[in-house]
């Protein structure tokens, strides 16, 4: 009798322990993932940024601010604006890319939404398919297309936009064009989703309440699609800011971006602390950008857009 009661209690205790284990077992993979792929690399990156660069390109003690001084442009030969210019070029290129992608994707997404339901998936597929091929291959494709002597280059030269003997590649323009091409799907898809659930009755209400075509768009269409536009801006601007393949291949060394600076420090320049410091700068710039963006979104889009 006693035995069974005891074993019953023991059973319950075991069950409780099992439940605790079960919860732990459920969340453990997630925690492990975060530790291994987020926290550890971040700690490593931040530590490296504060170390000295050894003679053989390995981070060494003691801890210094050398990497950050170098990043700000103070080198052995005095101050140079090179890194700051790279930061500025990255921000500018990101801004231009994001604006261009928005301007192209917004009417594109609207156009797709107005087609027959059967043809919409096909058109969306056409937007997405290019991104299934390798980024490097696409960059080489643009190279071939824009190199000196290619048809677009000859047309541009014929119009007097570029000197006769040069091509559209390599240039900032080639980088920008390729970036726009690369990120178009990331803007089109969230915008398409926003247009698809557009409440057309609100559009008619605006017309009914004396809004002309432009004001109807501004007051009834744009606010409704703003969440999609904002999602697209985040999806495009953050990876564009860190992009290094496209500037490297299509810029011909002239369109150096922050991503290239980081990549070079970890490879040919062998200056890990500087690379780590530049990475931290990129992260900070992204966070600041997102924070400003959130504020703007809340003011523009009322309650809904602030979710992003």
């Amino acid at each position: 009798m006693n035995d069974t009661v005891l074993s019953g209690q023991r059973l319950q205790r075991r069950r409780q322990r099992f439940a605790a284990l079960h919860v732990l077992g459920t969340i453990a993979p997630g925690i492990l993932w975060i530790i291994v792929f987020l926290i550890l690399p971040s700690v490593f990156l931040i530590s490296v940024a504060f170390m000295s660069n050894g003679p053989y390109g390995t981070p060494e003690m003691p801890l210094t601010f050398d990497a950050f001084r170098q990043l700000a442009g103070f080198g052995i030969l005095g101050w140079s604006p090179g890194n700051l210019a790279t930061l500025g070029r990255s921000l500018w290129q990101t801004l231009i890319t994001t604006i261009s992608v928005s301007v192209i994707a917004y009417p594109l997404a609207f156009y797709i939404t107005t087609r027959r339901p059967a043809s919409r998936p096909v058109m969306l597929l056409l937007v997405i398919v290019p991104s299934w091929t390798n980024q490097v291959i696409r960059a080489y494709g643009w190279m071939t297309l824009l190199e000196p002597g290619s048809l677009p280059s000859r047309i541009a030269a014929g119009l007097g936009l570029i000197p006769e003997h040069l091509g559209l590649y390599p240039s900032n323009f080639a980088v920008g064009l390729s970036l726009v091409y690369n990120f178009l799907p990331f803007m089109t898809l969230p915008l398409y989703a926003a247009f698809e659930r557009l409440d057309y009755a609100q559009v008619e209400a605006a017309r009914d309440l004396y809004a002309n075509q432009f004001r109807t768009f501004w007051h009834a269409v744009l606010p409704q699609t703003l969440p999609g536009l904002m999602a697209g801006i985040v999806l495009v601007s953050i990876p564009a800011f860190g992009m290094f393949v496209i500037p490297k291949l299509l810029g011909g060394g002239k369109a150096f971006m922050l991503g290239n600076l980081v990549a070079n420090q970890f490879t040919i320049a062998s200056n890990w602390p500087l690379g780590a410091a530049a990475s931290i700068l990129m992260l900070l710039a992204t966070f600041v950008g997102l924070a400003i963006f959130r504020r703007m979104g809340r003011q523009l889009g009322g309650t809904e857009a602030a979710v992003i």
Binding site: A201, Q202, R207, Y210, R215, T216
Partner: protein, 387 residues
């Protein structure tokens, strides 16, 4: 029984209207309320659906006019043509003295209360209501002042700072109404504005809408598929079916003297049976030969058609009292449906179904069980001849 608000007092919040209020009822129709004239309106949609087929209609200034019909009858299309959201294939629309057939919606002094309310989800209530004034360039301070006074009139002052997703259906309905009314349009269009609300709120808002319309003297055009609602609210109604007007007139006339079988059936419960006319004083009914009521079937002295008799005009005979005018019909009770205020009996006589409703007002009122044989008293003067 209606909310007590004198026209002068209640209309004051809407600027510029109070001057018209001093007159009597007849002068209400003055002010800026406009009449509407539609001529030969035809609208076909892609796929061959004919929404309107050569419809002509005239609506008086200050009238509460209802377009009534089942879904797909063309009533919403007509409303959208009046709003300018749809262009007719043929025909003309005049509002007041102006032809507006191809005038875009934002240049018409017409506002709509949409079925889905269509409130701007990214604006709060204040800016929703003030939208029309903003588009017309009314400065912010003036705009908000007028929003406040309309909100007081519609009793939604405490909602002004909320967003649409924080409002109930009834509240959204009021705001949609305020957003349209504040512009003092020549014509207010209401597209089934109450259909999404539950019964209690619905009848409350019916009364309120009526109060607002009467006190402002505005022309209201109301679309509904609910004949009860149409009867409660309207001065006149037009019954639409298949893109054409079946009948148009004052509510009572349409209910009591429907022009055809569709209108008769749509306006309420209808007992319809075949009749044939024999000479000037006899008609054949499924229940026997009756005296021909004066004027029944017009001038025809022979031929056949249908007769309508409304369930509430039929009485149960008590077997003793004989009535001068009534015809006696022997019938069997098939079903008895208790509906609170009334009891509905479904009966059969000579294989012809009949429905009778009795008001539950008596203290010792007689009830008839199923399968009971009863005498029904029908006054032939209640018969309506239908082609």
């Amino acid at each position: 029984m209606q909310t007590e608000l004198s026209p002068t007092e209640s209309a004051a919040p809407l600027r510029g209207r109070s001057a018209d209020r001093d007159g009597d009822q007849g002068e209400r129709a003055g002010g800026r309320a406009s009449g509407v004239r539609m001529r030969g309106l035809t609208k076909r949609f892609p796929g061959g659906v004919v929404a309107l087929d050569d419809v002509s209609l005239e609506i008086q200034p200050g009238e509460f006019f209802t377009l009534l019909g089942p879904s797909g009858c063309g009533k919403t299309t007509m409303l959208r043509i009046l709003a300018g959201l749809e262009t007719p294939d043929r025909g003309t629309v005049h509002i007041g003295d102006h032809e507006v057939t191809s005038v875009p919606p934002h240049r018409r002094s017409v506002n709509t209360v949409f079925q889905s309310y269509a409130l701007f989800t990214h604006n709060n209530v204040r800016d929703n209501i003030g939208f029309g004034l903003r588009m017309r360039g009314v400065p912010r301070a003036e705009r908000y002042r007028r929003v406040e006074s309309v909100a007081g009139f519609i009793r939604i002052t405490e909602l002004l700072d909320r967003y649409v997703d924080q409002l109930s259906g009834g509240q959204q309905q009021r705001i949609a109404l305020a957003r349209a009314l504040i512009n003092e349009p020549d014509l207010l269009l209401l597209d089934e504005p109450l259909s999404a609300l539950d019964a209690g709120l619905r009848s409350q808002l019916q009364v309120e809408l009526l109060r607002i319309q009467k006190s402002l003297g505005m022309t209201f055009i109301f679309v509904t598929h609910d004949q009860q609602e149409a009867m409660v609210m309207s001065d006149r109604i037009a019954v639409l079916h298949g893109g054409t007007i079946q009948q148009m007139g004052p509510v009572r006339e349409v209910y009591e003297h429907p022009g055809n079988r569709f209108v008769a059936g749509f306006m309420g419960h209808a007992n319809i049976f075949e009749v044939s006319v024999h000479g000037n004083d006899r008609i054949d009914t499924p229940f026997g030969q009756w005296r021909r009521p004066p004027g029944f079937g017009g001038d025809v002295s022979g031929g056949s058609g249908h007769a309508l008799v409304r369930p509430e005009t039929v009485r149960f005979g008590d077997g003793t009292r004989s009535s001068d005018h009534c015809e006696r019909v022997r019938a069997v009770v098939r079903e008895r449906l208790y509906r609170g205020g009334i009891t509905e009996y479904r009966l059969v006589s000579n294989d012809t179904p009949l429905t009778v409703t009795v008001s539950n007002s008596g203290i010792e009122q007689e009830e008839y069980a199923e399968n009971a044989e009863v005498d029904l008293m029908i006054d032939p003067r209640h018969l309506v001849f239908l082609e």
